[in-house]
């Protein structure tokens, strides 16, 4: 009992002490610190920021990437939101809808915003015309392909496909290669597990066949001729056994890293990822094992892709929004920080066209391939708070199609489910 009293007193004193010396705090919540290779970058950001703003205490709250949206929502609804929120674009509408985000336009100068590609900004601008998040680590999606398998299947690895027919031919060709000691070789490392992300990863095909998932009036629609054509293309691949059954993102990456798949869709993180997964036995280079190519154009010649990026937003509950914005400026526009982030992570670490053209990123062909796509990528194919719930309704129908189900009726069923969902 005596011990308990002593420790309680100590605790009370401790709390009083921290309460007394109150510094201004800026709280960031996100997954930056959950990856060990990024921790030094996070540390550098903190150091520089606190140097620029004496008396401010920067606090990093580590929240894991998966379902970080749920956490941000829970925190906002529970009244303990952080000042800076690390998100991906698909989560921004949901956060905006519950009033969790502050508009950013007035916190940044026009010059600052002008450095960022329009496509990236447009995706994060909402009905009221205001920006509710800024792109931080842009991740346009491209095709990565296994050059060795292409060669073995009799294609020229320096000539990646430029049409959908050409891509299909190569996928089928690679798929026909004899299985190795450690299993079958797939043409396309397609994701088809029971998760809304599976459908998100199929949107590049819809774009590639000239379609969209939102019609001219802004309604979500999957049962369109273009989507039917795109999914029919995927169905052919799947039914021929040239794509794995129900693989998750992680599993498809393994397949690719093990040299057992010809093509995969990835962003700029792909190189570092396959390096790690293969324990540095796979080289990503124009003449290496894996290289990158843009997805084929649509029949009308247009070119679009999706993005899987990181964005940063300011909470509507933040006390000092300008201070939060200052931190964003630091991480987006400070070349020391962005270069360090790039070198540590191998990702496109800033949306600033200016910074992307110089330094180590400017000199790297792989990065520059992705920089080219920044003008045509769409971070947020459906600007709706129920973005993932909508995709979730399509998942079963998408899986049904990949297993050979009737495409039009499946997509009609998906649309019906989406309409029911959105009617609530």
């Amino acid at each position: 009992m005596k011990h308990l009293k002593t420790s309680l007193t100590a605790l009370a004193i401790g709390m009083a002490a921290t309460g007394g010396a109150q510094a201004e705090e800026l709280v960031y919540s996100g997954w930056l610190g959950t990856y060990s290779y990024l921790e030094p970058v996070a540390g550098e950001m903190e150091k520089k920021f606190e140097e620029q703003h004496p008396g401010v205490d920067f606090i990093r709250q580590d929240v894991p990437f998966e379902k970080a949206l749920d956490q941000a929502t829970v925190a906002h609804l529970g009244g303990n939101a952080s000042d800076l929120i690390h998100l991906i674009p698909g989560w921004v509408p949901a956060m905006e809808a519950i009033g969790g985000l502050a508009p950013l336009d007035d916190l940044f100068t026009e010059d600052e915003l002008a450095q960022i590609p329009d496509a990236a900004l447009d995706a994060l601008r909402f009905d009221d015309g205001k920006l509710y998040a800024l792109p931080w680590v842009p991740g346009p999606v491209m095709m990565l392909y296994n050059r060795n398998l292409l060669e073995q299947a009799g294609f020229d690895p320096d000539q990646p496909p430029t049409t959908w027919d050409g891509l299909k031919e190569m996928i089928m060709g690679i798929c026909a290669l004899p299985a190795g000691d450690d299993g079958k070789i797939y043409g396309l490392a397609l994701r088809s597990w029971s998760n809304p992300n599976a459908v998100q990863w199929s949107i590049p095909w819809i774009y590639g066949f000239g379609g969209d998932v939102v019609d001219d009036e802004g309604n979500v629609a999957f049962n369109t001729p273009e989507t039917v054509a795109a999914y029919s293309w995927l169905q052919d691949i799947s039914e021929a056994g040239c794509a794995p059954d129900g693989f998750s993102v992680g599993e498809t990456r393994n397949l690719m890293a093990a040299g057992k798949a010809g093509f995969i869709l990835e962003g700029p993180w792909g190189r570092g990822l396959f390096n790690n997964l293969s324990e540095n036995t796979i080289k990503t280079a124009p003449d290496g094992d894996i290289w990158v190519a843009p997805l084929p154009n649509a029949p009308d010649g247009s070119h679009r892709t999706i993005g899987n990026s990181h964005v940063i937003a300011v909470s509507s509950a933040a006390e000092d929004k300008q201070l939060a914005a200052d931190f964003i400026k630091l991480i987006l526009f400070d070349q020391g920080i962005t270069d360090m982030y790039y070198e540590r992570s191998d990702q496109v670490s800033t949306p600033s066209a200016d910074l992307l053209s110089k330094g180590p990123m400017g000199a790297d062909a792989f990065t520059q391939a992705f920089v080219k796509e920044l003008e045509v990528y769409n971070e947020l194919p459906i600007k709706h708070p129920k973005f993932y719930a909508i995709l979730d309704k399509v998942v079963p129908e998408y899986q049904r199609i990949l297993k050979g189900g009737d495409i039009e009726s499946s997509l009609a069923a998906a649309d019906k489910q989406i309409q029911r969902l959105l009617a609530r």
């Binding site: 749920d70 519950i98 299993g183 029971s194 129900g246 899986q399």
Partner: protein
């Protein structure tokens, strides 16, 4: 021993904490939940309005919801039958006069505490279509050629879940049945044996009737627990493929906490509650014999 009249304060102090906990954390949430099922409650909305039977209509018009019910009934009932029959068999074998009963029982019973999250991870590995040991075994005995995509075939995935549920629950049924068996006076069995009754005759006419109530109650408890279980569908199969392992618990949880549609989730939860009550009532009449 005590009476409320003579010891009112003691009575109250014994019940007060439970009243507070059970009232606040079980009874209030259930009653409030039933009320919410008639509203459009959502934490994303500033106000909550009464919508009558709207949520129920929406739910019952949804073909997916009926699929979910079908999956739930199938997975839970098959798992219950499996674990009850297997648990009973193991208990009968252990009670047949062999030695090391304690050791065998302990070995099996350890399975009962393997965390669900571990089972979810482990089952993903066992049933992995390329490298899983299940497929390897089936290939080696020639049942299948190539790969069986256990987690991507709508006919197979529910079985993966069923195997997980049954595996985890067998020990519980076994322990309960074994304790009940050991509680049956040996004279009854011996008398029957001397009368020349074979083992299966004794089983049918003496043991099973004596065990029926206990085992059927254990089965009901397991069935209820399977209804609540959500780790495997949420982590291992995510309800797929094509919704084949989407069960009521997952459906309700997702409606509430990924779509933040409290009204709809409350309606599904209330439906579930009513379903369980009706089922338990019927079960009580059909499966349990009245004590003579």
């Amino acid at each position: 021993m005590y009476s409320i009249k003579r010891h009112p304060y003691f009575f109250m102090s014994l019940f007060a904490p439970a009243l507070f906990l059970v009232g606040g954390l079980l009874l209030y949430p259930i009653v409030n939940g039933i009320w919410l099922s008639f509203t459009n409650a959502s934490p994303l909305r500033p106000t909550t309005d009464f919508v009558g039977l709207g949520n129920y209509v929406y739910l019952f018009e949804d073909p997916q919801f009926w699929d979910v019910l079908g999956n739930t009934v199938f997975i839970c009932s098959v798992s219950t039958i499996f674990c009850t029959v297997l648990g009973l068999i193991v208990a009968l074998l252990l009670d047949s006069g062999i030695r090391f009963v304690g050791f065998f029982r302990a070995a099996v019973f350890q399975v009962w505490v393997v965390p669900w999250i571990v089972i979810a991870i482990l089952w993903g590995w066992l049933f992995n279509d390329e490298w899983g040991i299940v497929n390897h075994f089936l290939r080696s005995i020639g049942v299948v050629e190539g790969q069986m995509a256990w987690l991507f075939e709508t006919e197979l995935a529910p079985w993966v879940v069923i195997f997980a549920y049954s595996w985890r629950a067998v020990p519980f049924v076994m322990v309960i049945a074994l304790a009940a068996l050991q509680g049956i006076p040996k004279e009854i069995q011996e008398a029957a044996e001397i009368d020349g009754a074979g083992y299966f005759n004794r089983l049918r006419h003496i043991l099973l009737p004596l065990l029926q109530n206990i085992v059927m109650t254990a089965a009901l408890l397991e069935a209820v627990r399977f209804l609540q279980e959500v780790t495997i569908p949420l982590v291992l199969t995510q309800g797929g493929p094509i919704g084949a392992t989407n069960v009521l618990s997952l459906f309700t949880y997702k409606a509430a906490f990924t779509e933040w549609d409290f009204g709809l989730a409350a309606a599904a939860g209330t439906f579930w509650l009513v379903f369980v009550i009706i089922f338990a009532g019927i079960y009580n009449r059909v499966a349990l014999r009245k004590s003579a």
